[in-house]
Subunit: 336 residues, 2 copies
DNA sequence: GTGAAAGCGCTAACAC
DNA sequence: GTGTTAGCGCTTTCAC
């Protein structure tokens, strides 16, 4: 487990450390061809591996990007991470991942840990749109290269990428209306996520546009995952609240709702339609009649990386906010 | 973006670096209470953050664990990663994640990158059970602390954790038989994954046990994800091969198969039953009649961490192979 | 073309 | 209790 160092190579060859170092970075102008060959061969023979910790310390760059994600229930953030890695790996960056588990204290610790590690930059999707606001402001002030994605934070002067929640939601709800549904239940997300309010706003605006009265009892706070969605759906049905379509905040909610409807022998999509905002392509796999709007994961990753790299290059550059149109593809649908 | 160092603190206080260092690690026996207080206060005031790169170089421990996973399509590996993080984070470890995308060259690069980083240990789920065999043997010989999980590798003297594919598959296929199904189609996994053969072996043994003839046409290689499963299912049906149940290698395959059956108006579970090995809980959400055996993710993570930590502590300790029973829970089922 | 020396930020002997 | 020194493994001036 003892690793070979350039010093070992230097000793073996009877030359100096610096020459070895130069040879290994193939600094052709300052080292003779012959020396380079000898060094490289010896390095191979001795199974030398450059210690990146040392390189990083010296260059004061970790060549590492930290990604902070709020949850690991859906594949959305994994897909995002994969996409980021595909772009950044060829450029020599490593990815550190931290999962906050929807807990803003964990999120804060994760973030601090990354900073202590002197990562070059941080991509973060926040688990709460306000809780760590002051905390982040401090980092923004100190020009830590960071970019928020997906779950962004309001009132923060920082680069961010998100998809256009408002228009996506608008599109989706309107689609239900065009199909003939009128009493649309909205399983809303938690208050602490910013996207929740955007989608709710769209929901209300669609109703207004089509002259449908807004019924408060048709908007219920329904958490984020499958169990939450199922519970909410049951609650609504038990309360005898009448509705003919469901617009869900997440696809997991949609799954939960679907399960409940099936258990209660309510047919989708004839008696009830389900539509949801989809982080991944999961939702429509689940039931062909669930209408969904997809998140543009790949593009989001691409933009986030672009913004981050520009911040890394110039930490004091002005921030930029990118709002991506969601993929307005009705993956599958059935008329009422 | 210039970080404060202990030297800065030392200068500000007119004391030496070492005292600062000692004070910050609250070495009460060698520093006076007063000094500690002064140092800590100053550190806070100056917003000092310990540079972990430097600490790591000095201690020659990165306090980092690398995780190499083959894919990011399902949530299984994310769940695993989350579980590992939950255990290791409190112990001061960071997690680096690398996704191989089912490519053994990428996998190799990822692995090497981790080694260059001098991570303390590596958890790996291999994308191919043979391709990198010699490569890994080299690392095993050099006593690099590593543990294989889920997709383990044969003929390698290295600690590993996997679930009991054979018995899980046996259980699942037998369950179908007890329900009255006889012509069971097996959507098999790719040859390059070791688990594939284990499950196929179980499949054949179950048939033998129940005196059912083995029909080669009922075993088709069906890749790994949803599209693969759908294609295979279509191929089988188009070929007019008769079957009354499907035993899938992955839940994504099951999703694909289910979709095809639905499109062709074949009713599940009356005309056809689907059973699959499930990495996550996704499958049964998809259709209540899909029978699944769950992977014990949490336990797998726990065991993998245990084995890895023991290797880190004593790299020359003998290897250990842990085979976990899968959760033999029929999450939901319907009689034929 | 090569070597000697300094230093990235930190800790741990070893003095006093 | 505190300071001095050396060194983790590497790169990069600066001499020659």
């Amino acid at each position: 487990m003892k690793y070979v160092t350039i010093k070992d190579i230097a000793n073996a060859l009877g030359i100096s450390k610096s020459t070895v170092s130069r040879a290994l970075s193939s600094d052709t102008r300052n080292v003779s061809e012959r020396t380079i060959r000898r060094v490289v061969e010896m390095a191979q023979k001795m199974r030398y591996k450059k210690n990146e910790m040392a390189v990083n310390l010296r260059s004061r760059r970790a060549k590492t990007i930290g990604i902070v994600v709020p949850e690991a229930v859906t594949t959305f953030y994994l897909q995002f991470t994969t996409a980021v890695q595909r772009i950044l790996q060829p450029q020599g960056y490593r990815i550190i991942l931290a999962i906050s588990d929807e807990d803003f204290l964990t999120e804060r610790l994760n973030f601090e840990s990354f900073d202590n590690y002197r990562v070059d930059g941080i991509l973060i999707s926040s688990c709460h749109h306000r809780a760590n606001l002051e905390f982040y402001k401090e980092y923004v002030r100190r020009c830590t290269p960071m970019v928020f994605f997906d779950r962004t934070v309001a009132d923060l002067e920082c680069s961010s990428v998100r998809s256009d929640d408002y228009h996506s939601a608008f599109f989706l709800v309107e689609h239900l209306i065009y199909q003939g549904y009128r009493r649309i239940l909205h399983l809303a997300g938690p208050d602490y996520i910013r996207n929740t309010s955007e989608r709710l706003r769209a929901y209300r605006d669609v109703l207004k546009k089509h002259g449908i009265d807004y019924c408060p009892e048709l908007v219920v706070s329904a958490g984020i995952d499958e169990v939450d969605g199922a519970e909410a759906m049951n609650r609504v049905l038990d309360a005898g609240i009448r509705c003919d379509a469901v617009f869900c905040f997440t696809e997991l909610q949609a799954l939960g709702a679907k399960k409940v409807l099936q258990e209660r022998a309510i047919h989708i999509p004839s008696e009830m339609a389900i539509a949801c905002m989809s982080g991944t392509k999961l939702a429509t796999l689940v039931h062909p009649a669930i209408t969904a709007v997809e998140q543009p994961v790949e593009q989001m990753a691409k933009e986030a990386v672009r913004l981050l790299l520009s911040k890394i290059e110039n930490p004091t550059a002005p921030s930029e906010t990118v709002v991506l149109p969601a993929n307005m593809v009705i993956r599958s649908s059935t008329e009422k």
